[in-house]
Subunit: 325 residues, 2 copies
């Protein structure tokens, strides 16, 4: 609590995993004189109040953003436009608006028109998260040693950008500034495509439960229960990602459509090539590719981004993964 | 060391991650009077000797299997046939041969013809592993709370099956017995397809490093270095799997071709359907699918198979994942 507050009043709009983690981190670090929180969901608000996540809790977003120096949108990207339209007219002069969304171009398009002159838009994305959702899942350390990417448009007030940067640094993140379109392409491959693939394979497995019978298998049926039972063979790593917030991810894919479809196209080509190598017994191609991918793994480990899992007795991880980023 | 040895002499053929872990576990549990180890790789043998993984180390497999009560093949599936042909004539009467391979039908085909009458084949597969390879990566606890699947053919000596089962139980595993063909289909979806997909997406990312330019991106280039930097968004979970042993996995895909291609076909259809939903802005379909996959994740967590990761300061996990299974 020794730091001077960076902001007098910060309003968190959306008090889920990320919003509540940021509220906690701001309070823990003494970074805001007052942390206000709004959520459209009454149950989430009640939980946030009970947990003391923020200094004040507001069912009315207009009340929540009144007099705020910084407003942080931490809601699904699909409702940014509507939210910006509601709160825009009530922002005070000089207010900074930022967000935590996993896509950035679409977000700028959705928010910017609704913000009055004299306010500052500094879009942001903390590359951090867990598979869990809701205010009860948040924790102040979520952003520690993670990247926070900011994508301000050219001409944005540099002081506003610096204040948002400083906030992320003080909650433990490294800050990177890049172009919104570039962000969306980078995240399409590092985050959006992995989630899409994980969702798909888990859904494929879920469909096995039915009585799908393929001729060559005779009456052999693989069930979803078996998939779960033997998931330690690799499948379970996908289920962790595929447990992430469905609404948030729906909006991510729809609002970063072009980049996701492009990366998906590349992936599908590569997968088809591998499929062909298997069909034609091309062991050399398989081995060469599998050897090449090891170098990437080494890079991830060396970059200190390999994971921060904690062993627990029941075999579950502690939720400190970053799958929702 | 209070247990009576289950076997007088056990020979581990292939002293890599799995072989050396089993050797360690056998010694730690006093399950064998003598643990002999063979490896075709001189460096691996030297490491195993230095680490004291086994009681005796043999460059000559014939010498290693002489007088063995149990021989455990822990080598890539692709060399099973050649190895069985070499060692078969030197097995003693009553010897049990088992293995740890991730495919089972092909393995039976490869080994069985080379085994003399009076020996017993009990194919096995411990669903356990890490992304690391080599004798230095093994540890005695690898099989604890994991499944060991045995796929003996009908008519196999029940005592032989029971002794191999008991070995796995004593190193901490639960034992399941199933048909080899069924095993291969279950593992195709729980392990082989996840690995194939992980290898593919990591390779897709690796290719970005070049100067791939797509028209609509103008001069924006996403590099592999950026993918590594922001891998916490989901990508890193795939790199862990894609860091697994290339030769072992090449052989898995080639020897379980039919089941892998079948599961891959289902996956590709599902992925194409999701791709179409994104292109046509079908948010309802996306959300419904993403919601359904959460139930599977809950099942994995409840089954105690969700993961056993350990936090380390450098952000790397401790290798106690099971990606090589």
């Amino acid at each position: 609590m020794t730091d001077t507050p960076l902001f007098e009043r910060v309003t968190i709009v959306g008090i889920g995993l990320i919003g509540s983690s940021l509220a906690r981190a701001l309070k823990a670090g003494g970074l805001a004189g007052h942390v206000a929180a709004h959520d459209a969901d009454a149950a989430a608000l009640a939980t946030a109040e009970e947990l003391g996540v923020a200094d004040s809790i507001h069912g009315d977003v207009v009340e929540a953003v009144a007099d705020a120096d910084l407003v942080v949108l931490a809601i699904p990207v699909g409702v940014y436009g509507a939210m910006a339209a509601v709160m825009g007219p009530h922002l005070k002069a000089g207010a900074i608006v930022t967000d935590v969304g996993s896509v950035k171009e679409e977000v700028i398009r959705a928010i910017k028109p609704a913000l009055p002159a004299g306010t500052h838009l500094v879009p942001g994305h903390p590359v951090a998260g867990t598979e869990h959702s809701g205010p009860e899942s948040g924790f102040a350390e979520l952003f520690r040693d993670r990247w926070a990417i900011l994508t301000p448009e050219k001409g944005t007030d540099t002081k506003a950008v610096e204040r948002v940067s400083e906030m992320w640094r003080r909650v433990g993140s490294d800050v990177e500034i890049m172009d919104a379109a570039h962000h969306d392409r980078v995240l399409a491959i590092t985050s959006h495509l992995p989630h899409l693939i994980a969702y798909t394979i888990v859904a494929t497995a879920a469909d096995l439960e039915g009585e799908l019978q393929i001729e060559r298998q005779g009456d052999d049926v693989v069930t979803t229960a078996e998939v779960i039972k033997y998931s330690a063979g690799g499948f379970r790593d996908f289920t962790r990602i595929a447990g992430s917030n469905p609404v948030m991810w729906r909006d991510v894919f729809l609002s970063n459509k072009d980049a996701v479809l492009e990366m998906l196209g590349r992936f599908s080509e590569d997968l088809t090539a591998l499929q062909r190598a298997i069909r034609w017994d091309d062991g050399d191609q398989l081995e060469a590719l599998f050897t090449r991918t090891r170098a990437i793994r080494r890079g991830v480990v060396e970059a200190g981004q390999a994971g921060r899992f904690q062993y627990t007795e029941n075999g579950d991880d502690d939720g400190e993964t970053d799958d929702d980023a």
